[in-house]
Subunit: 256 residues, 8 copies
Amino acid sequence: MNKSFLLTLLAEVQRGEVTPEAATERLADLPFEDIGHTRIDHHRSLRTGLPEVIYAAGKTPEQVAEIFARMAAAGTAVLATRATPEAAAAVHSAVPAATYNALARTLTLSQAVPCSPFPVPCICVLCAGTSDIPVAEEAGITAEHFGVRATRLDDVGVAGLHRLLAVRDQLAEADCIIVCAGMEGALPSVVGGLVGVPVIAVPTSVGYGASFGGAAALLGMLNSCSPNVSVVNIDNGFGAAYIATLIARSAHRGKV
Amino acid sequence: MNKSFLLTLLAEVQRGEVTPEAATERLADLPFEDIGHTRIDHHRSLRTGLPEVIYAAGKTPEQVAEIFARMAAAGTAVLATRATPEAAAAVHSAVPAATYNALARTLTLSQAVPCSPFPVPCICVLCAGTSDIPVAEEAGITAEHFGVRATRLDDVGVAGLHRLLAVRDQLAEADCIIVCAGMEGALPSVVGGLVGVPVIAVPTSVGYGASFGGAAALLGMLNSCSPNVSVVNIDNGFGAAYIATLIARSAHRGKV
Amino acid sequence: MNKSFLLTLLAEVQRGEVTPEAATERLADLPFEDIGHTRIDHHRSLRTGLPEVIYAAGKTPEQVAEIFARMAAAGTAVLATRATPEAAAAVHSAVPAATYNALARTLTLSQAVPCSPFPVPCICVLCAGTSDIPVAEEAGITAEHFGVRATRLDDVGVAGLHRLLAVRDQLAEADCIIVCAGMEGALPSVVGGLVGVPVIAVPTSVGYGASFGGAAALLGMLNSCSPNVSVVNIDNGFGAAYIATLIARSAHRGKV
Amino acid sequence: MNKSFLLTLLAEVQRGEVTPEAATERLADLPFEDIGHTRIDHHRSLRTGLPEVIYAAGKTPEQVAEIFARMAAAGTAVLATRATPEAAAAVHSAVPAATYNALARTLTLSQAVPCSPFPVPCICVLCAGTSDIPVAEEAGITAEHFGVRATRLDDVGVAGLHRLLAVRDQLAEADCIIVCAGMEGALPSVVGGLVGVPVIAVPTSVGYGASFGGAAALLGMLNSCSPNVSVVNIDNGFGAAYIATLIARSAHRGKV
Amino acid sequence: MNKSFLLTLLAEVQRGEVTPEAATERLADLPFEDIGHTRIDHHRSLRTGLPEVIYAAGKTPEQVAEIFARMAAAGTAVLATRATPEAAAAVHSAVPAATYNALARTLTLSQAVPCSPFPVPCICVLCAGTSDIPVAEEAGITAEHFGVRATRLDDVGVAGLHRLLAVRDQLAEADCIIVCAGMEGALPSVVGGLVGVPVIAVPTSVGYGASFGGAAALLGMLNSCSPNVSVVNIDNGFGAAYIATLIARSAHRGKV
Amino acid sequence: MNKSFLLTLLAEVQRGEVTPEAATERLADLPFEDIGHTRIDHHRSLRTGLPEVIYAAGKTPEQVAEIFARMAAAGTAVLATRATPEAAAAVHSAVPAATYNALARTLTLSQAVPCSPFPVPCICVLCAGTSDIPVAEEAGITAEHFGVRATRLDDVGVAGLHRLLAVRDQLAEADCIIVCAGMEGALPSVVGGLVGVPVIAVPTSVGYGASFGGAAALLGMLNSCSPNVSVVNIDNGFGAAYIATLIARSAHRGKV
Amino acid sequence: MNKSFLLTLLAEVQRGEVTPEAATERLADLPFEDIGHTRIDHHRSLRTGLPEVIYAAGKTPEQVAEIFARMAAAGTAVLATRATPEAAAAVHSAVPAATYNALARTLTLSQAVPCSPFPVPCICVLCAGTSDIPVAEEAGITAEHFGVRATRLDDVGVAGLHRLLAVRDQLAEADCIIVCAGMEGALPSVVGGLVGVPVIAVPTSVGYGASFGGAAALLGMLNSCSPNVSVVNIDNGFGAAYIATLIARSAHRGKV
Amino acid sequence: MNKSFLLTLLAEVQRGEVTPEAATERLADLPFEDIGHTRIDHHRSLRTGLPEVIYAAGKTPEQVAEIFARMAAAGTAVLATRATPEAAAAVHSAVPAATYNALARTLTLSQAVPCSPFPVPCICVLCAGTSDIPVAEEAGITAEHFGVRATRLDDVGVAGLHRLLAVRDQLAEADCIIVCAGMEGALPSVVGGLVGVPVIAVPTSVGYGASFGGAAALLGMLNSCSPNVSVVNIDNGFGAAYIATLIARSAHRGKV
């Protein structure tokens, strides 16, 4: 509802082309679709530049399938995260072309129109250990859904520093770097000190005992001594990729 | 210590221009300066694209002044954060041209060479309440130190939504938005839903009782339902501005 | 055991109509019914204006069914919350007229005498996301059990502000507003700033990672910058509706 | 910015009495006053029925005095909470008629127009121990500022139950009850079981050791077994009184 | 290994009745029985006045059964707490006379010699709600195992104070009172204010949301404003009964 | 307000010796004294067997002095805990005979009538390290105030076990043992295993870093593997002594 | 990649025996093996003196089996910790000679070359209770895997001190002592005071209620008053044994 | 009190050289010195191989001075940690030869007899940032007090990895490495991966916001992915050095 839209509408009212009652109605009638349990925000793409994504956790398989189908019908590429196998089955029944990745728990549907008008931007998705891969994979698939190339670099934790140093060239090419790590969450600080781009740190719930479900990694990352590190919620690979996409695309916007 | 540097050095060794001993020495001799209590990382600018900044908390006024003077002597613009009045006095004795901002607790020194080669990028720094201004100001001064225009929008908390909606045009122009908020930390979620750029959320220690020194705001921001929000440490205006600078500059890099 | 009851009783003793022993007995014999594991508080309706409700969690299906049947036999409308399907089955065997809502986990029984003597008061029950609906539904059913009209407004979270602004008229008509939200729990603050009635905030355990089972939302709500927000326990839709009922009924008491 | 205001404005545009540009301006120009560090929300009274109150903590004495004077000049009664003696001195210089209560840390200014158009509603403010009085007093003064009679009942903690039972008649007359308690925070549950009106529980930071600054009382109150108890932030006497005022006034609205 | 035992032994050495080697051996050979995974402390009865009890949690059914049988063979009454149905089955195979209480999860075996030489002392075991009964029952069975009469008073929570006041006579007769409560854990404070004997408070894990597995009740009890309240671990009905037994027996020791 | 009192009163009403109005008054008029900020509970001695004690923290020196003087005037021995030097000065002005112990922060006044009618019972007060002495001393003085002999055993921490074993004879004579320990709080478990009487564990706030103000010791004690250990709040020497007094006196009651 | 290796390589470059390109390659080609999901660090043995160990938690049975087989093929002894029965089955299929210990959840494979060139060093592994044995057993098997003799001393908790004092001779012979304890975690402090070697404390998740999954034991151990105690993560028997091995082997290095 | 001492004593009793009474006395009379508030453990040196050290925090200057003087008089080298300037002044009056280090807050006294009979062992003490130096210095001085050479390596945090890699040769020579770090506490993991000796991690309280007084660093270190890392309490430089001393000395014991 930006200023020019408002000016146009008011000018139409002034010219008598639109009645005040209709204008009032139109101002209230913003583009979301109310399907009872959910208000699908088709408007988000306009407002934020990236299409809405379905967060499947806490929704029934039927709800996920219904929302997925509605969005697919709208012609956009669709992504659902945190999808259980049950939700995947329900979606497959409704939208057979959807793809399920059991590791990352994602459901995706590509559509005709490619997502990005820019030269393909690039991010790196690192994970500290093998157990962090599901979170990293959620991030990678999300970025690709938004048209960004996502290089995976797995099992490069700080206890064997040479594994990380061996991939420095790949780090140097990225517009933004996502680092997924559990346990002590030290990897973002080390990576942050090696590169000159933003690092999005994703604490994972990998660990045991005093990791307290990822809280230790989260606290470590928030206290990072590398100033280019910001943090998202525990296991939130999706959010990290969303932000990395915004950064990477913006870095290539001027080049078109 | 990238690959080309290594290749060049090894070629010199092969041609007998550099002895193996000297090469070994040179590989170890990375550009930091050891002044006893501190190892100044002059190399950071090369490695990360932004000069090192002095974190004054926990250092004696004498240590701050010594580091500040060394960095000033190296010809770069200098910034110290979390500086006490005592540290400011010590720095002023050593570097009279330094400027102290008591609200933001920053010490700055401009130098001849401007910091940014790009068209001036722009960020917004919002704060939810009057009490959050010191943190926002630390962010603003840091961004300006790095050559980024930083628009301040104070006291736009969510309990009076019209105050926020009144500044939507200014939000729309920014390459990145910093949101400083204490108490429940709800502002980043609301701002995140209104814009299409990354939002860096800075929880502040403003609040009382169950705010637990900013922990409530921190948790709120980490759980933001807006996917473009990432978070830095409590009261870390500097870190937020550092990341916002990287994002804003990268968005304008292609335009030069 | 109010003063007038005491005065009456003592007068009867003075007149010799009641012996001291019987009076002592009667003072001790307050109206609760001891059925072994539970002391049913039939007296609550007198004391607090609303009938007792069965909290089924932690009770065996048999215990729930027994208490439910006793209360049904007393002729009042009955409500059980947090009822498992097993408890529902046991209650159905004992009281076939009872209704089970699997989403809200409530068991209800309407009886002949309507609950409220007042013009029907009205509350709104908002929830931030689809996953918060079970808690909101527990609140809605509870309010209706107490004779209050409860308008549901689902999926109006702050990341898409226009969805909330679209229901402002409905908010304006309510005597009290219940807001159920997980994750960062920002919705009550925003709603609180829009209305002039009390807002009862219900943190939900919806979320993951650093939501810590609803603690993040709880802390956010307790630190709300809107002064008309008070908070109940995580997922406590029942409690919120109980309080909202008291407020809404009191607002209409004078109008009878 | 309600619907009728919008309809009126649009009708004026239609009739050519207002240009679209001016209307746009007016829609954006909501009634807050920007004085640099703060945006005073004169509009709040319209929107929420109660005038804005100054939260003095975290503001400089000069800021408090400036806001206080502006609001006083607007002709409304003024209340500042959490005011230090320094802030009080600054306000007195600017507004000599202001009154400071050092125990409750409040600054008040009465003005000609009385606050409430209703028959005087009534609340009770209880505190469990002598040390809780400052919080209770903040609540009491706030309620009176809003035109509500506030009966104080101090030192009625649960370890000497007869002290509480002795004031039951006073409890029975209140439209809403505020209970301030530190330590284990048990008082609201007990009071809640005795009355049929909403109880607003205010945990206080009174206690030591495992009270963890009021967290123990806060948790106790959130887990209250009395369903008519809702909770505000630790030491938030102001917020409790704000809500109690809304409830008590609404209970008397119909009687005018 | 008290002083008199040592003196006797040393005198025997002096008289040549015991060699130094044998004495050394005997001093090392304290009365515990090493059965591989466990060192059964038969000596505890001597040292602390009450026989050892088997804590079955974390032990395999086989381990529980083996320890139970060994202790039964030693002729003492046996008690195992936190026993699963599987452990109960294993014990029944080995010691058919053992009794299992599924609610309290206890296994007991009475033996010929009665446990207590004193006139039967008496305690009360209160619980706030029906859901706290398993913990209270563990306490009651434990006390009876140690020869103490344990009066149960269930469902006397503070939200219906008259239920508690109705049992005051029974409270007045007890030598020690155990109070089991979850949620806000307010009951011990109220009971503590009514009686003149020690109150052992047992927080239970009953509750939801911000009860955090009993932590809220625990904190409440630790901060009790009644000075005669001490606290044991969450759900530790056994420990409470152990201490209550020591207190109640000691109160009757002089009367024999 | 026990049953016999009620029967007597009612009989007087029946006989016409007391009017119903007067009886009602008398039932409400329980013996506490309302001095504005505080309701002194003279009745406590009757109800719980031990006189009320002044908790001075959070009260002004004037309040402490006023309460102290009132209680002194009532002829009972008086004890105030957590008294600051300022409170001590105020009390001395009002009651010159009062004694201040700066280490334990206690104010005491002995009076003619001795506190205990029993043969002098005995407790031990242990502390793990020199820094725990203030808490132990608060416990010791409190016990003596209530007529109990309190043997102090300082600096007997578990890292030098022989220091503890050297005082076993003294432990063996006590009716109850208080153990004050900070840091890891291990001492109560070790002591609990050596004796057959109740152990009251007092966590102290002594320690640093991860002791978190005594929370580590508190948790340790709550999880004690010795079943005769119960716990009071951090630094609550007074509470421990209160309970130990009840236990020790009861153990000697029968011997009179 | 130590200095001498670098000097040798550079000398070869200088002599023309190695081209700069090959040298660059070799420097980058550090000895880890990338098998997709995991980078096996064969180099660790060189760098840290002990071979890499497989942490099976969070890996699929197939991943565990693949890594196990690769390491077995490299000829070294292999150890996997936290292995589920499913992982054990998968490993057995691939490497039939592997041994599974279901209690300790370890998979081991001995190979021809013995692990240690030193005289067999010795450690003690204590556990406080029977339930701590799985953690202790993980420690014992790990130490033996590394060629260290590991004496187990089970069920020697502090509540029965004589059980611990009975094994003092065995403690005296160890080069390092591992102490596994849950609940209050007091055992390391007591052991630490008895011996003159480092004590590695392993908090276990054994306990209930306020043990909070081992946090109570962890905090206790971190606050140990015995200065020779250091701590590893909750249930981390492997880590404790790894460190104890380093200490014990170093103590015997000079004796070869 | 080892076995041979016991055998000798008992043989003396058998031979009539020592009476049973005297032997009993001697067994109880272990070598500590009771000076009222403190029991000095002269026996510790015998028992643990290192002399007792004074922990000055929580003791009055007079107490520190008295203990320091007593230990000095016993002829051993003396160390006091956490000494305030006031304690230093008091010690200087009593023992003029004592040395105070204000940064590390240590008081030391060397004496004629050197502490270590071994070839000088060597440790490294690293700190991540300048602000961690006080903790590192406490560690260094403690190690030197015990006869161990302690190489300091300051300001080698992970955000500038080349600073750490530059000191690898020095790390390689140490028998044990102490790493002091605040903020995210990542340094021990990185160091642990580079070396083959035990790493003692010391979290420091350096940091702000979500460092929560060192808790973030502590959790990070406990969750270290390097298995040779164990942890001591926050800021506990003394403890780390104590353990490192035991390890380093043991590594050189065989070489004498």
